[in-house]
Amino acid sequence: MPDFVAGLLENLLTILVTVVLAIPAAIRAGTPLLYGTLGEVYAERSGILNLGMEGMMIMGAVSGFAAAQTTGSAALGILTAALVGGLFALIHAFASITLRVNQVVSGLALTMLGLGISSLMGKQFVGQPLAARLQPLEIPVLSNLPIVGELFFQFDLMVYLSIVLVPVLWFFLYKTRLGITLRSVGENPAAADALGVDVTFVRYAAVVFGGMMAGIGGSYLSISYAPAWIEGMTAGAGWIVVALTIFAMWDPSRALLGAYLFGGVRVLQFRLQPLGISPNLLNMLPYLLTILVLWLSSDQAAKRRIGAPAALMTAYAREER
């Protein structure tokens, strides 16, 4: 009997340790998703669905890597990625806000464009290791704690930045003047317009911000996570981000949960491989989980009657009769 209990305890302990040890990896894997989701939450809050996140993330990945590699500065790489992501989003903004084209198709087109340009741009970088590595950030005291410090305080700046952004973006959205304006544009653009809010500008700003976040998320992959440029390295992360936005119910604070959940699945993929499960079947997990998450959140949204921003996917034009 005591043997059995001891065995059980030991097993439980092993599982617990495994899970805890996996958390840092899950956080790393979830970080690009977190950036992307936060960006998409803002874009959709303004009423614009950006299905081009995949294209913007991959452009961020390639341009970030290229800039970091040529300048030798990871920071410049990330900055470039943000700019390029924002520039790409600007195209989507122009198409969907000014030209009022179908937002689904425009986003799709930008994803194709991003995949194409990134492969061409990145050709010369394939197989190169990144010289300008991002170093883990030394946090006084915390990083030096035994175990805990090693586990949770050895990330690089980009991880901490994404975590800090969660409350900041939440606060901005709900408790500031511009946040109220942003939400109103996504809910009722006519009302906002009538009060002198520049609906077009707000939407452009939100979409471009979303693209910048996607770019940064992509650059995290190529500058910190890999760190290398691999063609098509986002592998659908941009689409998962769109699903996570629904899962997060357009709330930045819930984005954290979703992103790390998916990060965890990514880690699980690698941890389960030694057990003899086919890597191909394991690779299906994030996509199947996305479908499951969409299913559950659609159901939940229906039950709690929490919907998307009311004006999501509707172009706004003032002088229409």
Binding site: T176, R183, A194, E319
Partner: protein, 518 residues
């Protein structure tokens, strides 16, 4: 405070405003002069150009020609933002409120308040304003929790908070109960007493007489006359507004109602938000009679007709059609059995981008002669469309024209034609003339009376009390999903109806009474 110079007594002057839209001239050299501190009514039929003119003043539309003078200065208004800067505010017929925001958040939207927690810094001033003008509303409530009257108060608060001097209100009483409308009038009086100017868009003659100091009448995009309200009367205004005698040529023949066609028993229906919309409602409509449902919109009208049409699940009670229980019958079966439906929201029943011909077969495409086993009979589709266009005098270039290109009156006529040609035993009609001009209204009314003469049972939903009273053989008043009382054509009493619409009066016997022969 106000200078006595003559040009300064004018709050607003619009001179020779022209606003063209593709295909229509909304304003054709329209003029308007509004004095400081007055309530100025802008009276006109639907489509007369009142709202368009005010949209020009508010910077939503850009005039093609004409001058705008505000407080004695010539101005150009590019956007609502410019208008607000000039002290002009506008409250649209459909409130421009963000449903998920709180009252405070709505009030401060678009203003340069403090960056963090902006609504909190604004709170004291907003509460003070509400107090001063008697605008009772919970500052932290979310808009979707408020009644139409309360939402309107939020709109007024928004304008006042922006330091509005000239307030434009578009059909402000259309969503209100008579009681709420009275309260609004008090608020407006308080505002003008403080030196504010109010422009009041309306098509209701009585309202002009009750509320305004002066009135400008518009017709077909032009301003026809400006009069002191005290020196005019309803009859004169009506003639100016319509351009001819307003008496409708309504041929309301006496029809003896036949057997009951529709019987609704203790019906309960839930709204989109999951709240009870129709509560234990019972009614009966017989062949050859029009049962009107009056009430402020949003009191369950939409849910009621949609439930009868089968488009909305019923949470309790029964719907009997020609004696048979159809409560669970799918919509297609109800159509086939003879229930026609003209919804208040027209585009719910039409496909804007499709041709007139394709819209005309929406109800009968599945059966001969239009629909064969698998295919549609193109020739039959064409004949059907041409017949309807001819018989109902639908003005369209041809049957291939996309229906959205037609005028509002013709779209409505086409919709009615499609439903009536099916010769339904029961016709559900909601807001049949909303947005139509006088001529079109008259045609539609006569079409409905023809249906009644043919022996159809007609259930008529209308926000327009005039319309409901003119057409109905019996009139039921709906409030919060319940019938407050019922009148026959002989017993209709405007005052009682008004009280019932506000929920302040209820007939002791809310049982459905079979209509006496008209």
């Amino acid at each position: 405070m106000t200078s006595a110079k003559p040009e300064h007594t004018l709050a607003v002057a619009l001179r020779g405003i022209v606003k063209r839209f593709p295909g229509v001239t909304a304003n054709d050299r329209a003029n308007l002069e509004v004095r400081r501190g007055e309530i100025h009514a802008l009276l006109g039929e639907n489509g007369a150009g009142k709202t368009s003119l005010m949209n020009v003043l508010y910077g939503i539309y850009h005039p093609d020609e004409g001058e705008i003078w505000v407080k004695g200065r010539r101005v150009t208004i590019h956007s609502p933002h410019d208008a607000i800067t000039l002290g002009i505010g506008m409250i649209h017929q459909q409130f421009r409120l963000v449903q998920t925001h709180t009252v405070l958040e709505n009030v401060i939207l678009g203003l340069r308040e403090r960056f963090f927690f902006p609504e909190q810094s604004a709170r004291p001033r907003i509460l003070a304003l509400a107090e001063k003008y008697g605008l009772k509303v919970d500052p932290d409530a979310r808009i979707w929790q408020l009644s139409a009257g309360e939402q309107q108060r939020v709109e007024i608060l928004k304008a006042l908070y922006r330091g509005v001097e000239i307030l434009i209100m578009d059909e402000p009483t259309s969503m209100l109960t008579p009681g709420e409308a009275l309260e609004l009038l008090h608020i407006l009086r308080r505002m003008t007493a403080e030196g504010l100017t109010v422009i009041f868009i309306t098509h209701k003659l009585e309202e002009v007489m009750e509320v305004s100091d002066r009135v400008t009448v518009m017709r077909a995009g032009k301003s026809i006359a400006t009069l002191e309200t005290a020196q005019t009367n309803v009859r004169e205004l009506a003639q100016l507004m319509v351009g001819r005698d307003v008496l409708f040529r309504l041929e309301k023949k006496a029809v003896t109602p036949g057997a009951p066609v529709l019987k609704v028993e203790n019906l309960n229906v839930v709204s989109d938000k999951g709240l009870p919309a129709v509560v234990n409602l019972s009614l009966e409509v017989r062949a050859g009679e029009i049962l009107g449902i009056a009430g402020v919109s949003g009191n369950g009208q939409r849910e009621l007709v949609e439930a009868i049409a089968g488009l909305r699940p019923v949470s309790g009670g029964k719907i009997l059609f020609q004696g048979e229980d159809v409560t669970q019958t799918p919509p297609r079966m109800r159509i086939e059995r003879g229930i026609g439906f003209v919804p208040g929201e027209r585009w719910m029943a039409l496909i804007p981008s499709m041709s007139v011909a394709e819209n005309m077969i929406l109800k009968n495409y599945a059966r001969p002669p239009i629909g064969r086993k698998v295919f549609l009979d193109a020739e039959a589709v064409a004949t059907h469309a041409d017949t309807l266009i001819r018989e109902y005098a639908i003005s369209t270039p041809n049957r291939q024209t996309p229906i959205k290109r037609l005028s509002g009156g013709n779209i409505q006529r086409a919709l009615l034609a499609r439903e009536m040609t099916e010769r339904p035993a029961l016709l559900l009609v909601a807001q049949p003339t909303s947005g139509l001009d006088v001529g079109a209204t008259e045609t539609i009314w006569n079409l409905l009376l023809e249906e009644r003469a043919r022996g159809a049972a007609v259930l008529l939903i209308s926000d327009d009390l005039k319309e409901a009273m003119a057409l109905s053989d019996r009139l039921a008043v709906l409030f919060e999903g319940q019938i407050m009382g019922e009148f026959t054509a002989q017993t209709m009493d405007l005052e009682k109806i008004g009280l019932m619409m506000a929920g302040a009066l209820r007939q002791p016997t809310a049982e459905p009474t079979a209509g006496e022969p008209a």
